[in-house]
Symmetry: C2
Subunit: 159 residues, 2 copies
């Protein structure tokens, strides 16, 4: 099973793809999508959407896994994140993939074993679990952590 994890933020959208095999979890790819700072919102939406759709078409994941929105931000930033998350999430039904959501707490518990783990601990564990030569950047690590979390827990309800 191939799992695409996505971490859509207001500035950077991280993604990570793993394959769950009988022998363990294999790393396939990760990266970060960074629309330029001066982009209007519609252009940022297009860049996130088109990049992810290209990845979906190339890697053919079985599921898309995405982080629930964390409410502890200002409303304007939450709404912007909602737009970008909507454009990212949209790629799944367009290609017939189910969507699963995990909270940051669930992801941290699944990957680090501790719900209040910090970014660096996640990066460190993602590197170790996937046998990577170096820790991926923070947003790509979060996306890989989400994919690993799904490989471990396999939720039932779709979003």
């Amino acid at each position: 099973m191939i799992i695409l994890g996505i971490d859509p933020g207001t500035r950077v959208t991280g993604y990570g793809i793993v394959e769950k095999t009988p022998g363990g979890i294999l790393h396939l790819e990760h990266g970060e999508i960074r629309p330029s700072r001066g982009s209007v919102l519609s252009e940022s939406l297009r860049m996130v959407f088109e990049t992810l759709l290209e990845i979906v078409d190339r890697r053919k994941p079985d599921v898309l896994v995405i982080e629930t929105i964390f409410y502890g931000k200002n409303v304007k930033s939450l709404i912007r994140q909602g737009h970008l998350r909507g454009a990212a999430m949209l790629t799944a039904p367009l290609r017939g993939l189910p969507v699963y959501e995990y909270s940051p707490l669930e992801v941290k518990q699944a990957v680090v074993g501790y719900g209040r783990a910090e970014k660096r601990q996640i990066q460190h564990m993602v590197k170790a679990l996937l046998n990577l030569p170096s820790p991926p950047p923070a947003d790509a690590s979060d996306a890989l952590a989400m994919a690993i979390c799904h490989a471990h827990t396999m939720k039932k309800e779709t979003a």
Copy 2:
């Protein structure tokens, strides 16, 4: 110039298309997109996106006009609206269209001449301005009102 107005809500997305000609503003089409109540969010995003993309490809508008988000709601509802608005707005850059935003106040002032006009007044004015046999439903009227507002005011900044 063909103008597509969109009013994306948490439950219903209204749309309306008008053509600005030297002789006045012509009504081309309007409607409402209503994902079924039980749909998961990703399916609602797909339905709004695919319906609007079909309309864009069929009517070939020159611009997309969309309402700014009104902040006077609970955060959960604003975030849901952000997702749907993102999926709707995305259709524009995918087809090379500029996006313009107007606030409810600007739209009401342009169409009714009064910033605190009620839904029914907007429906009534949209019917009158476009010579329609009956007032369109509320969300489609809002979308048509936005398109009319752009035809009158022609903003410069894109979103």
